[in-house]
Symmetry: C2
Subunit: 310 residues, 2 copies
Amino acid sequence: GASSAGSSDADVDEVEAMMGKQIYMVSDGTGWTAEHSVNAALGQFEHCLVDRGCPVNTHLFSGIDDVERLIEIVKQAAKAGAMLVYTLADPSMAESARQACNLWGVPSADVLGPITEAIAAHLGVSPSGLPRGAPGRNFPLSEEYFRRIEAIEFTIKQDDGALPQNLHKADIILAGVSRTGKTPLSIYLAQKGYKVANVPIVMGVNMPKTLFEVDPEKVFGLTINPVVLQTIRKARAKTLGFSEESRSNYSEMDYVREELEYAGKIFAQNPSWPIIEVTAKAIEETAAIVFRLYHDRRQKYAMPRISKLY
Amino acid sequence: GASSAGSSDADVDEVEAMMGKQIYMVSDGTGWTAEHSVNAALGQFEHCLVDRGCPVNTHLFSGIDDVERLIEIVKQAAKAGAMLVYTLADPSMAESARQACNLWGVPSADVLGPITEAIAAHLGVSPSGLPRGAPGRNFPLSEEYFRRIEAIEFTIKQDDGALPQNLHKADIILAGVSRTGKTPLSIYLAQKGYKVANVPIVMGVNMPKTLFEVDPEKVFGLTINPVVLQTIRKARAKTLGFSEESRSNYSEMDYVREELEYAGKIFAQNPSWPIIEVTAKAIEETAAIVFRLYHDRRQKYAMPRISKLY
Ligand SMILES: Nc1ncnc2c1ncn2[C@@H]1O[C@H](COP(=O)(O)O)[C@@H](O)[C@H]1O
Ligand SMILES: Nc1ncnc2c1ncn2[C@@H]1O[C@H](COP(=O)(O)O)[C@@H](O)[C@H]1O
Ligand SMILES: [Mg+2]
Ligand SMILES: [Mg+2]
């Protein structure tokens, strides 16, 4: 049976009870789909998560492609009072998960089963039932694969205003003052296959000329609430330590406000750049807005959408 | 009603029929959850996708938080013969989607509804029903948020062997010859909050001393099949053009084999580094393996898992 190394089951139960409710996630692949879905679903319980009395603990079991390990995990879930969220491509594995959960009273949810069935009916094609990475499946080095890697490498090289002579090669250019999230946003967009350059706006420093020579349709300005920006900059100055703190006005309120006003003037002079307010938005939320605007400008559908051919 | 700008419905139907089957994805948030799930589910139909006779076209509609736009999209889906995959936090929006799909005969799948219900029952707490980004929800600048951004910034600075004096600050160090995917893998891991450094192995170039001074438990070697590596390097040399092609042996088979053997010797001298074979693996698959090994080494559970507290 499954027991934690070096401690009795009683100890384990105690510790896990203290940590709150358990969610076990099982995948025959990477587990990222289950994790992503559980993450989004947990957004619906933010009002009661950490600091509010209903902590949740997730446990990801990836690469589970044999029924013995699967059953062991379900048994362990039963012991821990956990629920099970799973993505299993092989129908007999999915069925085993369902039955074992029923048998041991483990609440469960199949993440992809229902969508896969609906797509199968829609396409009129049966699912392969083969997990990703199953032997025999060959991984095609697709053009899209190379394009994504190139986009990431391009984006890294263009971080923080580097190599302004390459701005014309970017698909998307982000401009904003320090700590508006340009770097993580650039990387997020790059992972979707876009070449991104980001250009800092710093009071008293000239913007690169090339920024005003490229297609303005691909430039996006970022702006943020000054109070929130100050908070972020203070945290940043702490992390960086002395050397950067010597730029003492960096996180001072007057300076923060002035720099944002300076950015606002540049934006006003370039009215075709969309300006995105990033306050209180996670990186992936800002990314969704950038993509929406980017695709709306490039297509003639009546309803804005992002289309992709498989 | 919804009709495509500048073309009759007949035209639209024709074009869309040529493009294959349509999948509409609707979210009140970013749409990334629906996209991720549909992507994974489509993996089950790889045997019949592009080049195999059943092309699929996805259309992502993000930020859909009012019922009018929702209904318009369902109508358009009906016209295009599309199916609808949705994530809608507001129960009345989700119910509207279901009803409109029934009414107009649009096949549909609710991605998060069932998981959210199962989690609600497990926690004994009702879901908020508020979409992300709903007014009033405040976005906490959590420690994890800052940690992730710092990880991305650290990782960018450490790309391609830069700043070897900082290797001790990394959580994870990747070593491998050129084109084993170190850079995109580093970025993928960084987005999950880990500080990653990558160090290229180049025949005839000394590895930085610091690599052998850090905790060997955090170093991972990457290896790859020589034939596949040569294919990737040839594609790379083409993209880079002349300057790099002058390093003419870079993609020659003998050189590729020798360099991989050289890497193999370094790995043999450092037996505590796990070596990961990346051939035929997508970046996120290699990332899952790195995480599994990384967490297995750091915890004492009987069953390997990646745990997270919410
Ligand atoms: N390219 C693919 N081919 C076949 N199955 C896939 C593919 N990508 C993901 N899956 C399946 O989708 C589910 C979620 O994948 P993952 O996000 O890797 O855990 C697992 O059951 C995988 O086996
Ligand atoms: N932090 C969150 N709080 C509340 N709802 C969320 C959160 N994250 C995601 N969601 C919901 O989960 C679904 C998928 O989100 P998304 O991936 O942004 O499309 C949508 O219905 C969102 O409203
Ligand atoms: Mg930056
Ligand atoms: Mg690299």
